[in-house]
């Protein structure tokens, strides 16, 4: 089949079908009365289904196709129905304020504009980013064409640049869509990324509104995120940052819900942490950070905090262990811990931080100044503090890692710092909206409390 549009329509159909199945299954995750959040979590579940049915079908000796996908979907739906519905005491009615209709309309248009811009950027041409060709897309194409990842993909020394040590969640997702499509189409497949952007925005807005944030503030936050080009651009399309951004937001919001005892929150947290660790190595780190933030959260019962910590870390460890079982131990190609003990380590650290300051932060000063103003204008809330702590830990790691890079600290900063840090944007957007919520008036009773993480 030639031409973009028939393939795009087919990929859209696959994503919609997976999302619809996920929506039904998400009844086991999201309490009733939250349709927007359920759509977002359902989409995420649908992506898990698309990625997950491939290794299951291959392990069973079958061909990953619609039949295997349907079988996997039936199993997931049955498990979802068997699981106890998350229900608890009804949340107090929040009486969501609609905000001024005109303002809401403007922000909605800005959100739509951001989505359309990213659609255009993502779908201009077949995915082309360096890491798509060498890592994510290449592995997906191999899985699709070879019915799995053959050992030569991680044992050939000349292919070390494909990073065999990376998790394969994203390649499995790409391959899963390709199996259902019946061909590898790396142009139509790009539709996945704007779809993930939409799910991220939906989760952000619906969660913020449920937390009592005015609709206009929630939409303003979503509009800024939708227009955030460092994350939603052609270059990131095909790479792991866009899905990671959704998963980091999902971890953050479900963590806040979990320490508050929201029904189903631990399940959502576990699901998001599993996905993050199956997507990128730092997913495991973020899951660990979420566990730490949960444990340090003040004013909540230890049992609840410990439950959230376990929900975050155990599935992530399971994902990391699965990866290790698949390939055996593989070194992190770009990093060497031994630098820490060498005399020049201080210089390496200084070079990394200086490169971040001069080549990333300085050119972005208007953006950073805006974020400082927004943070300063807001008020402290426990939920925002938790989200900011969750974002700060990986940001700190991203700033420290260049000192350990074998290709030089400045190389890693130039090639990765801005891109990887951009994935934290949804968490930051949620935290700032929570801080600004008291300033612009909340839509109803807050479920947040003055208690919060000590971090």
């Amino acid at each position: 089949m030639t031409g973009l549009f028939p393939s795009l329509a087919a990929v859209a159909g696959i994503l919609l079908a997976a999302g619809a199945l996920g929506f039904f299954a998400a009844g086991a995750l999201v309490p009733a009365g939250r349709p927007g959040e359920r759509v977002a979590w359902g989409f995420l579940l649908g992506l898990y289904l698309l990625a997950g049915f491939v290794p299951v079908a291959l392990a069973a000796g079958g061909r990953p196709g619609w039949l295997a996908f349907a079988a996997a979907a039936i199993l997931v739906l049955a498990a979802s129905r068997a699981a106890r519905r998350p229900a608890g005491p009804e949340a107090p009615p929040r009486g969501v304020e609609r905000g001024r209709a005109g303002v809401v309309l403007v922000f909605r248009a800005a959100v739509a504009g951001g989505v359309l811009l990213y659609l255009l950027r993502a779908l201009t041409e077949p995915m082309w980013a360096v890491d798509f060709l060498a890592i994510w897309g290449w592995k997906g194409k191999v899985i699709f064409g070879a019915r799995g990842l053959p050992p030569w993909t991680w044992t050939t020394p000349e292919l070390a640049f494909t990073h065999p040590e990376y998790p394969v969640g994203l390649p499995l997702l790409d391959a899963g869509i390709a199996f259902l499509l019946g061909r590898w189409d790396d142009h139509a497949l790009a539709l996945l990324y704007p779809a993930i952007q939409v799910a991220t925005l939906l989760l952000l807005v619906c969660w913020l509104e449920r937390r009592g944030v005015r609709r206009s503030v929630a939409l303003a936050s979503a509009a800024a995120l939708a227009l955030f080009e460092p994350l939603y651009r052609a270059f990131t399309t095909g790479m792991a940052e866009v899905p990671l951004a959704l998963l980091l937001l999902a971890i953050g919001v479900s963590l806040v819900d979990a320490v508050e005892g929201d029904p189903g929150a631990n399940r959502r947290l576990a699901l998001a942490a599993l996905g993050a660790a199956a997507l990128k190595n730092e997913g495991l780190f973020v899951a660990g950070a979420a566990a730490l933030v949960a444990l340090l959260w003040r004013g909540r019962p230890l049992r609840r905090r410990a439950g959230a910590a376990l929900a975050a870390i155990l599935p992530a460890l399971a994902a990391a262990a699965t990866q290790r079982l698949r390939t055996g131990p593989l070194p992190l190609r770009d990093f060497r811990a031994g630098f820490l003990l060498e005399p020049g380590f201080g210089g390496r650290m200084a070079l990394g931080l200086r490169t971040i300051a001069t080549e990333v932060l300085l050119p972005a000063w208007p953006l950073l100044a805006a974020l400082v103003l927004l943070a300063a204008a807001g008020r402290r809330t426990a939920d925002a503090r938790g989200l900011l702590a969750l974002a700060a830990l990986p940001l700190f790691a991203y700033a420290m890692l260049p000192a350990f890079c074998v290709w030089g600290p400045d190389w890693l900063v130039r090639t990765a710092f801005a891109r990887t840090s951009a994935a934290l944007a949804p968490l930051l957007a949620a935290a700032l909206a929570l801080r600004l919520s008291p300033v612009f008036g909340r839509s109803g009773e807050s479920t947040g409390s003055a208690a919060g993480p000590a971090a």
Binding site: L4, P126, G145, E158, A369, L371, L374, G378
Partner: protein, 141 residues
């Protein structure tokens, strides 16, 4: 509270301004033109027109020509190209997937084909096909 609102509004306007600065109408117009012009073409031609082949479009044309000449069951492909860059390595690997493919490997595994970009015939290999921009070889028996 009023002063906080003013600071927040100033911050948000500055945020929107800095985000809007990344929107370049000329870039968007170029993207729209390319997407519309290429939407009816087959996938390989769209990639040929795109960013991943921009460093050397003739090289991608060569890779695609080689790929179409390889028999089913090909074990792997080694590619020789003058002064290969990271872009050559990445595009070669991706173009031939799921088959293994290496640019200028130190050793070519048994059963692999050799594709030479440009002129030249390596010793110990015999040509099996001439393709755009080069030729495909197999090991001479």
């Amino acid at each position: 509270m009023r002063s906080r609102r003013l600071v927040a509004l100033a911050g948000y306007l500055l945020l929107l301004f800095s985000l809007a600065a990344a929107i370049r109408p000329s870039e968007l117009a170029r993207r729209a033109r390319l997407a519309i012009r290429d939407s009816g073409k087959d996938l390989a031609r769209r990639r040929l027109d795109g960013s991943s082949a921009a460093f050397d479009r003739r090289y991608f044309f060569f890779l695609e020509s080689v790929r179409r000449r390889l028999p089913p069951g090909t074990a792997g492909v080694a590619v020789l190209a003058p002064s290969p860059t990271v872009a050559h390595h990445n595009l070669t690997l991706y173009a031939f997937a799921p088959r293994p493919a290496l640019v200028a490997p130190s050793r070519i595994p048994e059963g692999w084909f050799l594709a030479v970009y440009g002129a030249g015939a390596p010793d110990g290999w015999r040509p099996v096909a001439s393709v755009a921009g080069g030729a495909v070889f197999e090991r001479a028996r």
